[in-house]
Symmetry: C2
Subunit: 218 residues, 2 copies
Amino acid sequence: MAKEQKSEVTADALSEALVRRLPGYYRHLREMEAAGIKRVSSMKLGRRMHQTASLIRQDINTFGGIGRQGLGYDVRELKEKIGDLLDLNRGHEMIILGAGNIGTAVAGYASFQQNGFTTVAMFDVNPAKIGTKAGGIPVLSMDALEDYVMAHPVDIAVLAVPKEQAVTVMERVQKLGIRAVWNFAPVDLQYDQTAMTVVNVHLSDTLQVLSYQLAHMR
Amino acid sequence: MAKEQKSEVTADALSEALVRRLPGYYRHLREMEAAGIKRVSSMKLGRRMHQTASLIRQDINTFGGIGRQGLGYDVRELKEKIGDLLDLNRGHEMIILGAGNIGTAVAGYASFQQNGFTTVAMFDVNPAKIGTKAGGIPVLSMDALEDYVMAHPVDIAVLAVPKEQAVTVMERVQKLGIRAVWNFAPVDLQYDQTAMTVVNVHLSDTLQVLSYQLAHMR
């Protein structure tokens, strides 16, 4: 009885920093599982992930419900738990808006498929691209976006259009009721935060962080 | 006299979270400057950046040496200060290792050039690509990497090779004395942290964070 009352931190309570670390855990645990490793200590996992053992223990305690049992964590159990938190155990269907270099790179990125993220279609305004394939995915006319999504509901829209088109495309995505946007356009989009969630990949920003780090190396 | 003793936080003391926000500041300030805006309050800047006015004030105080003068911050002065911190006011030369989809997307990304990051060459192992151009940049043989860098020192190496090649390519980059690596391969690279700095863009990780956010939306 007492055991059942033990409070488990809900996933919603995870800090942003911890959420950002989850995919790294998942990646390392999957590699370990593939290599036939059954159990791992916080020290070994930390060394592999360039983190301290105490951060690893603290993170894993936060998930709740993972026993250490003296011999380290069960690799498979921990991987499944993190996969559940990341919701990787159901499939996600994605569309890519913009069939330029970035859109094509995303379409061709094999490891998304491995995690259950399937790109079902791409959309572009360029008549020369419409009807072709990019990264193996059919490119449809951007004009067909609404009809397509009405007929084939999707989970995630990847925004890979030029900056100038990002705002209007985002408005169309929001109207269609798509709830998740992976944004590669270098703009901070306005959206209804109760209806959608957005993750930005601002490539220029990460390059500037590298420039900062290079300039301020000890 | 008292004024001169006021301690100014050095750039090395900026927190990782603040460093990650700097490119966003720079982007918005540049857009404002281009739109002819001379001064901005912490409230207006915050609204634009989806941050609180108090965080903005706290960040800008941390940089030091920026007066508020009642009427808000001087847009140009603040932009230049942040550009200095990010070391954007000198040029950076980059090479891209791997002329696949990601490497080509990086090569073709116009806004890097705008911030003084110039891609001078790409390298690949695929004979069909060597001698061609990708994203406007000449693709050389990966075998020529050492000779090229010896003759043309570069600031930044972009790692856009498949996961399997990332470790050996990273070793070659480190031997060449290149001090900054922008890594797109989905591996956590080992390197001498006193000699190099690395920023990882793990695309799969950011997609998984989006999946987490979608699953845990209120």
